[in-house]
Symmetry: C2
């Protein structure tokens, strides 16, 4: 249930997000029809627009709830392009066939076009980003993207590492997901440098980064949990994919770290056999069900959920301690809470 102030922010936000969508499409338009055909597939990927929304609402929180300006909308579009590029390339890595209830681009047009289409998106993101004439902002966005790539490579290096520890798991998702969310919030502040003193700006920017980073980590924990505990029809993508691709997620990491000798050995054996049984659909489904039950019964799912809740509380505390109260700040709080209740 939205509060009245939240409703006002959401109303101001709608035309801003519509502009982001329009610019996204306009920037990617090419004189080559074959390129435009591919770009249409990307627009179908469009989801919750989390990153653009983080930029725009953070900007409003920095400017006493006044609407964002054009530079914010451009950076919001850039963030969405970078994110879309990682989705397109992620789906190649994951050999995924389904994303947001639709076929993935690699499934539709092949891995080769998907590789190049992702590159086209990244390149256009930077091209658009350089149009605001702020090298400092471009550098921050590029740094966040460097970190996202590191996170992806770190995750790949730990594929089929069934001994993955919690600290490494957190470092992977901090880089691959949370760094860009944090930067989306922080650059929104740096683009408001006319509205604040330098001391205010520094404190606000860092608080927003903390908020975005913690929200991003919680988001990824919940996303990973859905792969194990969700319902395929609701989640809109194939379940158990993380497991199929040798990716451990928080409930399982916790379960394995706490399991007694025999249970641990049996679970590891099940994971190994499952990893080697790619074509045995019946075994894959049955083993997924066994794992889901074990995780749920042992409290490992609750453990992961509590970790996400704590991060969301910390994200909100960072705002409460450093940003003046206001309608946009309340919307940021509500966005953080929504990470925990999402079932998309």
């Amino acid at each position: 249930m939205l509060s009245e102030s939240d409703r006002q922010v959401t109303q101001k936000l709608a035309p801003q997000l519509a502009e982001v969508e329009a610019r996204f499409a306009a920037e990617l338009r090419s004189d080559l029809p074959c390129v435009n055909d591919l770009v249409l597939h990307v627009e179908r990927y469009r989801g919750k627009m989390l990153r653009p929304t983080l930029v725009l609402v953070s900007a409003m929180a920095c400017r006493g709830d006044r609407p964002p300006d054009d530079a914010h909308r451009i950076v919001a579009t850039v963030a969405e392009m970078v994110h879309m590029a990682t989705l397109v390339h992620d789906d190649i890595l994951d050999e995924a066939d389904l994303r947001r209830r639709g076929a993935t681009i690699n499934h539709l047009v092949g891995n080769e076009a998907a590789v190049m289409l992702g590159d086209y998106l990244i390149s256009h993101a930077y091209h658009l980003c350089s149009s605001i004439g702020r090298a400092d902002i471009a550098r921050r966005i590029a740094f966040a993207t460097n970190t996202v790539c590191e996170g992806e490579l770190y995750q790949l290096a730990n594929r089929n590492n069934w001994e993955l520890d919690e600290a490494t798991y957190y470092e992977i998702i901090r880089r691959k997901t949370a760094s860009l969310c944090g930067e989306c919030c922080r650059v929104a502040a740096f683009l408001c440098d006319d509205d604040m003193t330098s001391a205010e700006l520094g404190r606000t920017a860092e608080a927003l980064y903390t908020y975005g980073e913690k929200l991003g980590i919680a988001f990824q924990i919940v996303d990973d949990m859905l792969d194990l505990t969700g319902d395929a029809a609701t989640v809109g993508k194939t379940l158990g994919r993380d497991l199929d691709k040798g990716k451990l997620t928080l409930p399982l990491i916790h379960f394995l770290s706490r399991a007694e000798g025999a249970t641990r050995a049996q679970t590891l054996d099940l994971l190994h056999r499952r990893a080697g049984a790619e074509t045995d659909e019946a075994f894959r489904l049955a083993s997924l069900e066994r794992l889901r039950a074990a995780l749920s019964d042992s409290g490992a799912v609750a453990y992961a959920r509590t970790a996400a809740e704590r991060l969301i509380a910390e994200a909100k505390a960072a705002l409460a301690d450093n940003l003046p109260p206001g309608a946009a700040r309340a919307t940021l709080d509500r966005m953080a809470d929504a990470v925990l209740t999402r079932n998309f």
Copy 2:
């Protein structure tokens, strides 16, 4: 045989290129060992450093043969990173196993890490590019990269199009190869805006773009010819790959456009059968030999070579008409000539 002035330029260039190499490695260094291990593979890809050299020598040609400054070296490094990223991703597209006499990254570490490693390179390229604080330069580099991606997508869309016409072939290679070469030369001029009047700058920049673009088109024609006419040991990569992947190149396009009814039908039939005979190594080699002989006998190879020679003459004429004579300009001429004699 290098002239005395050319030797002087080459001597000045050596420490500049060494700095580019050092910065390339330093920029890509990560705190994650798994990332550094992958980056080492990229450094093995390092080839002739054509794009960095174009930036640096163009800069010298704009500044009366004085050495380039730091911004030029940074842009030279950026161009090499973008190029390396496209090589890494190209090899995934091409399913190539061999590049510059070494195993390709996709072959060594899998397509998944190769996708992400390419992204890591592109992202770092833009991160580095934003460090010179020139949004105009960043925007030009990003635009050239947009164009490179379009060229790759255009080429993919024409895979197995055995009716590809010459105009489309030229448009593909102009975008995927020549646009970045042209921009390397042009941005070198824009970074010398203190050394020239605005009118001089405009004329010099466009002449350098024309030079780089024509050199790039000629380079790609020759590169494509080597896939058909070269010697595997000298070329350092698998021959006939373009053909295997359904890519037509200039000699073949010309041959098919001139061939009489029966010859044309037989050749198309051979190409189709070859495309469908991926595992029949003996047939693939025999058909490659037949095609090589046909192209050579018909004058189609000579036709492509003449086209490359004409482009190189035009590239040099653009310089002669618009840049003052000097040692660096002479080196640019010699680099253009080298495109025709390369056997690497």
